[in-house]
């Protein structure tokens, strides 16, 4: 079998201006009474994409999914699926299927019957249904449990039945609402890769709602970060992490250090940012920031070096004292309190087994980073 990575690397329809979006939200707004769950949102999802909607609870991500499934109608705006306007089409006539967070397995039906339910609605022949059910059971490795009832299964098995049931009809799009939310950590990690394999094998478009950023980063081709009913950024996991477009996204995904300041000097590529207390930071690829703008310089903890003496070659170096140390095994996180009072988080990979660490609590320390290690945020 071709490795997943080689298929994935070439897959980027969103950067192709010719590519037609498969699912399209156009200025979609959804209000429940006075509460606006989704606010004038536009979004494109491409065929065969593994798309993740990531956000805190109440950000509107589930509402978006439910509108796609047909359980809610948009207050205004429209949703297109493969060119077809979905308005007014009830859930039972939409070519999408959903895997529910609670799995929603029918308690009075066996595993087989659960999987066959959707096929029966289509009026498929008995023989075809049996064949498809057997195929699905094999796909999720539950052949031995075909005649069990849902309450006779473990959490992981129930999750796989729910998955098999939702893909049995070969929908154009599979919607997954927190698909791994009810599993424990170890099972969740295994299942993530199973889901990715399944998506490749069946060639489906997946839209997954999650609040777990690790899950979204691992599985998705692209992630939409949502907040208060709006999409903050849509990008690949690497872009979201390395090039967030706003303070919100930078802070939402992973850990980040933000240095607030203003642009003192601006050349074609680089910029010099002066912090409130006079600290100078030189940045390459400063983006849109113009001279005089109030900006934030965002840098991830693992891109900061920490040393006891001022590094000779460093362009950006700031002095402070070690405020706290968290030893996590695979890495150590240092919290350095700069002289202007800001606390900076720097993490160091413990690549060597025994580290003769010269730094300890209350030591003077220098943090340094390269000019291209972080990004300048204007929003």
């Amino acid at each position: 079998m071709k490795s997943l990575g080689s298929i994935r690397r070439d897959f980027a329809p969103w950067s192709d201006p010719q590519a037609k979006p498969y699912i399209r939200f156009e200025n979609v707004t959804k209000r429940f009474g006075d509460f606006t769950a989704v606010n004038n949102l536009s979004l494109s999802i491409y065929e065969r994409e593994f798309f993740a909607l990531l956000g805190a609870s109440g950000c509107g991500k589930s509402t978006l999914l439910r509108m796609l499934a047909g359980f809610e109608e948009p207050t205004s705006g429209k949703i297109l699926l493969d060119g077809q306007d979905l308005r007014g089409i009830p859930p039972y006539r939409r070519p999408v299927n959903m895997m529910f967070q609670s799995y929603a397995l029918f308690p009075h039906m066996s595993v087989e019957k659960n999987i066959a339910f959707g096929l029966k609605q289509e009026g498929m022949s008995k023989a075809d249904i049996d064949r498809r059910v057997a195929e699905m059971l094999k796909l999720v490795k539950l052949e031995r449990f075909a005649s069990r009832k849902p309450h006779q299964l473990s959490g992981g098995q129930r999750q796989r039945v729910a998955l098999a049931r939702s893909v049995a009809k070969r929908p154009k799009v599979l919607l997954l609402d927190e698909p791994l939310g009810a599993l424990d950590k170890k099972l969740r990690e295994e299942t993530q890769f199973e889901l990715m394999d399944l998506q490749q094998e069946l060639g489906l478009t997946f839209v997954v709602v999650t609040h777990d950023q690790e899950e979204a980063m691992t599985m998705a081709d692209r992630i939409a970060i949502m907040d208060k009913g709006e999409v903050m950024q849509v990008a690949t996991p690497a872009e979201i992490y390395e090039a967030p477009n706003s303070r919100f996204v930078a802070g939402f995904v992973g850990n980040v250090n933000l240095f607030e300041g203003s642009v003192a000097e601006r050349t074609e590529n680089s910029a010099r940012i002066t912090g409130g207390s006079g600290a100078q930071i030189l940045v390459e690829n400063a983006g849109e920031a113009a001279k005089g703008n109030d900006v934030a310089f965002a840098i991830r903890p693992e891109k900061i070096r920490i040393s006891s003496r001022k590094p000779q070659d460093a362009v950006n170096a700031l002095e402070g004292e070690v405020y706290d140390i968290a030893y996590l095994g695979d890495m150590t996180v240092y919290y350095v309190k700069l002289d202007d009072g800001q606390i900076v988080r720097a993490s160091m990979l413990n690549a060597a087994r025994i580290v003769d660490d010269p730094l300890t609590w209350s030591d003077r320390a220098w943090i340094s980073f390269r000019p291209d290690a972080g990004v300048v945020l204007t929003r």
């Binding site: 499934a69 039972y92 529910f100 609670s102 029918f106 609605q121």
Partner: protein, 273 residues
């Protein structure tokens, strides 16, 4: 715990149970009395049971009662389930609170008032009192009991089951009959059984709503007792007690078994994971 089995506790329990069950025990014992005098023991005999089955009046009344109970329990179950569905599903319609109150008011309404009002209604519309009116009256008052039982089940019903069925292509009506109804069936069945027993032992409302030719068993027993208790009545009551207790015991055994089996299955599933 043993320390708490003091003399006082034992006395309390004996008194409590005696208070509850002594009258019933007396009734059962005297149904086997050979003597015609209800309160004087004249030796063991089953003659009153034989007499009971020869008593055409009592047997007719029993048959009427069973028919009324079957019909009214079934109709009340349909109506009560519909009311419960509306009350739990459509939570935003105008006048919902009033409607809820009106559905549940008969639960606390004195039976005399319910019976009298029904009687007035039947007279007003010119309905001849008989089998039909008793049945209608029983539907009216047992419907709200069914609604309460079914509603409490529907509150904990996971709506995503219905959404999943629709998502898989089942239209709403099909979803209701294939998913919702089977899942809430146990509550509907117990609602039916409640309605059935309520109808079976109702005296007050039946007395108002019934007419000649539709005398129910409780009415018959009551009218005979006014002429003096006969051992026959004791026998009839003993049989009723027997049927009801058998039903209750059987239902609880079945429930218990299912619960144990379910727990065992769940534990087995956890080990497999």
């Amino acid at each position: 715990m043993n320390a708490t089995w003091s003399r006082f506790n034992i006395v309390s329990i004996v008194l409590g149970f005696a208070f509850l069950y002594l009258p019933i025990v007396l009734l059962v014992v005297f149904s086997f009395n050979a003597s015609r005098l209800v309160t004087v023991w004249g030796g063991f005999s089953t003659q009153w049971y034989a007499a009971l089955f020869r008593n055409q009046g009592l047997m007719d009344a029993a048959w009427v009662t069973i028919r009324v109970a079957l019909v009214s329990a079934s109709a009340a179950t349909v109506l009560g389930t519909m009311a419960a569905l509306v009350l739990t599903r459509y939570t935003r319609f105008r006048g919902r609170v009033l409607f809820t109150g009106m559905v549940f008011a008969p639960l606390v309404m004195p039976e005399v008032i319910t019976g009298l009002s029904l009687l007035l209604l039947f007279v007003a519309v010119g309905l001849d009192r008989g089998f039909l009116t008793v049945t209608l009256a029983h539907i009216t008052f047992s419907m709200c009991f069914v609604a309460v039982v079914v509603q409490s089940r529907l509150i904990s019903f996971d709506r995503s089951l219905e959404e999943a069925a629709m998502d898989l292509g089942a239209p709403p009506v099909k979803t209701f009959f294939q998913i919702t109804l089977p899942v809430i069936a146990p509550a509907i069945i117990s609602g039916w059984m409640l309605a059935f027993t309520l109808s079976l032992d109702d005296l007050v409302i039946a007395s108002f709503a019934s007419g000649p030719g539709a005398t129910t068993l409780p009415m018959k027993i009551y009218s005979q007792v006014r002429l003096g208790v006969t051992p026959e009545i004791n026998a009839a009551c003993t049989i009723l007690i027997g049927i009801v207790s058998l039903g209750v015991i059987a239902a609880s055994i079945v429930n218990k078994r299912r619960e144990v089996q379910r727990r065992r299955d769940e534990q087995a599933a956890m080990r497999l994971d």
